[in-house]
């Protein structure tokens, strides 16, 4: 054996370490993509519309009423309050990174953000309005007329309102979470515990559903794979039927879109029913009904520590 061989090996290993230090990690979880290029006029119009209470029938609610950007893109209620003052039947998911979900709504009944907007504005429990009214109301406002005329060749239309809102929502990316930085190669950004947490997250199989760029949001899953969650919780509601409401397929009973875990630490309460008030509770439920396993207390803590690294930034500030 040549004497230079160990040195060579050493050099090789060193090189590997170097390259690993800079290169993005190849994980089942993916860092957030950059905000796509959008027409700034449409984005600005969308922002105005997002904060526009006149989208609701009695001008009481805007999108931002429930999707509070300063509050993780959702409100802190189990069920948001509709225009009529009545609580909705399902928890409000975060608007952040919503564009990265493969479907919209808990039961995935909307394929696009536009369809989601369409549904919410017309929903009799949420905004209770109709598009004729919205377009008429927006057309009456000279400021909006101008903004629409600038952003769209055909001015104020239902499609343009939806498109503007969707365009704005596509910019709502909570980038630069510590975990994203880790994925992008800055492995020192996470503490050892957090890294262990990530390891546990993978080992316990959380990653089976919560993976991809949005750490979830790319598949449907039955709530209660390893046990009947709803029986245990009690008070079954219509919303608990999940995707069944969309497909009427027995297969889809209690099936929901796997929610994104991004910003999970700031978007309590959890689950479609808002039943888990804390991350601990949520993780417990997941272990029990989805994974069918019992984690050690340490592991659970580690996982929660990891989950807290998923909180991104908005407007230059951590959410």
């Amino acid at each position: 054996m040549s004497p230079s061989f160990p040195r060579l090996l050493l050099a090789l290993l060193f090189g590997l370490c170097l390259s690993a230090g800079a290169a993005p990690l190849n994980e089942a979880l993916k860092p957030l993509p950059a905000v796509p290029q959008q027409n700034p006029l449409q984005v600005e119009l969308g922002r105005q519309l997002f904060n526009e209470p006149r989208l609701s029938v009695d001008s009481s609610l805007s999108c931002a009423s429930c999707h509070r950007l300063e509050n993780g893109g959702a409100d802190n209620k189990a069920f948001s309050i509709g225009f009529a003052g009545l609580p909705l039947t399902i928890n409000t998911p975060s608007v952040f990174n919503a564009s990265l979900n493969f479907r919209q709504f808990w039961n995935g009944r909307a394929d696009t953000l536009e369809t989601q907007i369409h549904g919410v504005v017309q929903s009799p429990s949420e905004m209770g309005s109709n598009w004729e009214h919205v377009v008429q109301m927006l057309s009456a406002d000279p400021a909006y007329r101008t903004s629409f005329a600038n952003a769209y060749p055909d001015g104020v239309t239902m499609n343009n309102v939806q498109n503007a809102l969707a365009t704005y929502e596509r910019t709502l990316i909570s980038a630069n979470s510590r975990f994203d930085q880790y994925l992008q190669g800055d492995t020192d950004i996470l503490t050892l515990d957090e890294k262990y947490g990530y390891q546990r997250f993978k080992d316990y199989g959380c990653i089976a559903c919560h993976q991809g760029v949005n750490i979830g949001g790319n598949m449907f899953q039955k709530f209660g794979v390893m046990g009947d969650y709803f029986k245990t919780r009690g008070n079954p509601t219509e919303a608990d039927l999940g995707r069944y409401l969309v497909t009427k397929d027995e297969e889809d009973r209690n099936v929901f879109k796997v929610p994104s875990l991004r910003n999970v630490a700031v978007t309590a309460p959890y689950f479609h029913d808002g039943s888990a008030k804390t991350l601990e509770e949520a993780v417990d439920v997941m272990f029990k009904f989805q994974l069918g396993r019992i984690p050690s207390a340490d592991d659970k803590t580690l996982i929660i520590k990891f989950l807290k690294t998923l909180t991104g930034e908005w407007g230059g500030k951590p959410l």
């Binding site: 493969f102 089976a208 993976q211 899953q221 039955k222 397929d249 099936v255």
Partner: protein, 603 residues
């Protein structure tokens, strides 16, 4: 011919225009965006197919992966949806969606893709939990084995059996994951039952781990067939076939379009050829027209030249004719002049005749016969002549008679001498006339110095007989005119004629004395004017213009030469002869004007 030609040309133009518009139409028809749409559509379908295949690959990858990113199972569908939207928009813009076959194929594809999406979603859900359980299963088994190994106070053989059973169950489960069969399923069920039995044999602390493991095995037992079935179903969903159907439809459509295009191209070719032929024809026509124009031009030029030649010829002929005419005229003139001469000679001969007659009459009535009778008386008395002369009464008268006879004969002689000299003059005039004729025949005018008044006297004298006979009084109004150079014969000819005419014009005049006025004067120092005025029958207005024409006469025995030849003669002397009359019965005035050429007086 020309109109029909023009109509033909207009028709050809219209045909050409029609052909051109048909070509344009065909071009527009054939160059429709069908082909580009086709290519793009086929490309889109191809990409969808590719994405579909990619999707399936990702599905298969997901089947074996332990921890898997399911994003690649989402993105192909998103892209497929986008591509399909583009395709559909394009196709509906193209109007293909109207066709029921198209709609059917689209529906079939959409149904297939929806079904596949549904199955893939289910696969994702089931596969995720299945993979998770399978991944966890060795750990779950380890947990049990570890717990078992920690048990020391139990029946080792039973523990060994339990451990083996658990391990077998793990193996069967893992095998089941690889080869899903009913046998394996039965094995697992047996294993689960054993585990359940073993659980009862083991202490309480084992129950949780065993439950977890059996739960997960139950899940595997439940989910693995589901996942397998889903995979089979996914595989069975004929998305690719539907896409192939659409591609086939596209191909068929394109083939039809191609055929149509080809037909259009053929038509275009045909029409192009027609157009080209037409253009060629037009070009030929044009060239021919050009040739015709050239030919016509040439012909025109030739004709022109011909015409010029003919004109020249004609001109020459005309000139010839003119000269002939001139000759003829000259000859005619000569004849005329001869006639004139004869006429004039006739006139003079009249005088000669008269003179001869007079001499003859005088000779016949001569008193010389009386001399003979006297001599007879004398001869009867030869002896007694003296007695007779003194005695005889007859004889006594004889000497006086003889004396008277001598006077009478002397008178007679004198008269005859006069008459003969007149005769000689007339003969001289005839000679002159002949000489004039001869000189005229030479076309030369003989200019000689002359006194116009002498010429007038000559002319009067030549007409003297007639003038005397007709008792015409001649009034002479002569100005003082120097000797001039002139053509004596022509002047004489004119004067004789004018005097003769004047005399004739007054022949019927009975109620008043016949008077002719001759005038000579010089006008403006350059014209010699001779006028002959009568107070005879005059000239009728209508005859004024014809009076100098050849053959015009008002007299029964007239020839119509006189005034004509006079006018000619005047013109030949560079002068002119004019007539004036106040009307019939009011007399006439003839005026001759010739350039005045005075003879320089000899010193």
């Amino acid at each position: 011919m020309k109109t029909s030609n023009r109509r033909n040309l207009a028709l050809l133009g219209v045909v050409a225009l029609m052909l051109a518009s048909v070509l344009l139409f065909l071009y527009l028809k054939s160059s429709s965006n069908q082909t580009t749409t086709y290519t793009e559509s086929r490309d889109l379908i191809g990409r969808i197919k590719q994405l579909n295949a990619q999707w399936e690959t990702e599905i298969l990858k997901a089947r074996v992966a332990i921890s898997h990113n399911y994003d690649p199972l989402v993105t192909p569908l998103t892209e497929i949806t986008n591509l399909w939207e583009r395709f559909d928009t394009m196709e509906s813009n193209h109007g293909r969606n109207d066709s029921p076959i198209w709609r059917a194929s689209h529906e079939a594809y959409l149904t297939a893709i929806q079904e596949k999406t549904r199955l893939v979603e289910q696969f994702k859900s089931h596969n995720a939990v299945l993979r998770n359980s399978l991944a966890f299963l060795p750990t779950a088994e380890d947990d049990i084995q570890e717990q078992l190994s920690r048990l020391v106070d139990e029946d080792q053989l039973q523990l060994q059996n339990i451990a083996t059973d658990t391990y077998d169950l793990l193996l069967s489960s893992l095998e089941f994951a690889q080869v899903t069969s009913d046998d394996k399923a039965a094995d697992i069920l047996v294993g689960l039952n054993k585990l359940g039995v073993n659980k009862q044999r083991l202490p309480e602390q084992f129950h949780r781990t065993i439950d977890i493991m059996s739960n997960h095995i139950a899940l595997i037992l439940r989910e693995q067939p589901v996942v397998n079935r889903l995979l089979e179903n996914i595989e069975a969903v004929p998305v690719a076939e539907r896409l192939d159907d659409i591609t086939n439809l596209l191909n068929t459509d394109q083939q039809r379009t191609d055929a149509i295009d080809q037909r259009y191209h053929f038509y275009m070719l045909v029409f192009s050829v027609l157009l080209v032929l037409l253009l060629v024809y037009l070009a030929i026509h044009l060239m021919r027209s050009f040739t015709v124009i050239n030919r016509v031009n040439k012909a025109l030029q030739t004709a022109n030249e011909d015409l010029e030649l003919r004109v020249e010829e004609r001109t020459r002929e005309l000139k010839d004719t003119q000269s002939e005419l001139l000759d003829t005229a000259r000859q005619a003139g000569m004849a005329e002049i001869a006639t004139n001469v004869l006429h004039n000679v006739g006139n003079v001969l009249n005088s000669v005749n008269i003179s001869a007659d007079l001499v003859t009459r005088k000779l016949r009535a001569s008193k010389a016969q009386g001399l003979g009778k006297a001599m007879q008386l004398i001869n009867e008395h030869p002896g007694d002549l003296g007695t007779f002369l003194t005695e005889d009464p007859k004889g006594k008268l004889l000497p006086g008679y003889l004396n008277q006879l001598v006077d009478a004969i002397a008178l007679e002689q004198q008269g005859m001498t006069d008459e003969l000299s007149q005769l000689t003059k007339s003969v001289d005039h005839i000679k002159d006339i002949v000489a004039t004729q001869q000189s005229y025949a030479g076309a030369n005018s003989l200019m000689e110095p002359l006194h116009i008044s002498e010429l007038l006297e000559d002319a009067l004298r030549m007409n003297s007989g007639a003038l005397t006979r007709h008792h015409v009084t001649v009034v002479k109004e002569y100005s003082d005119v120097p000797r001039v150079m002139g053509d004596k014969h022509r002047l004489l000819l004119i004067l004789i004629n004018l005097i003769s005419n004047a005399k004739y014009a007054m022949s019927d005049l009975s109620n008043r004395p016949r008077q002719m006025t001759l005038g000579v004067k010089i006008v403006e120092d350059k014209t010699l004017q001779v006028s002959v005025k009568d107070d005879g029958e005059g000239i009728a207005e209508e005859n004024m213009t014809r009076i100098f024409a050849h053959g015009f006469t008002t007299r029964k025995e007239g020839h119509g030469f006189g005034l004509h030849s006079c006018a000619l003669a005047a013109i030949e002397m560079n002068g002119h002869l004019t007539a004036h009359s106040d009307g019939p019965g009011k007399g006439a005035l003839f005026t001759l004007q010739i350039p005045l050429k005075t003879v320089p007086e000899e010193a």
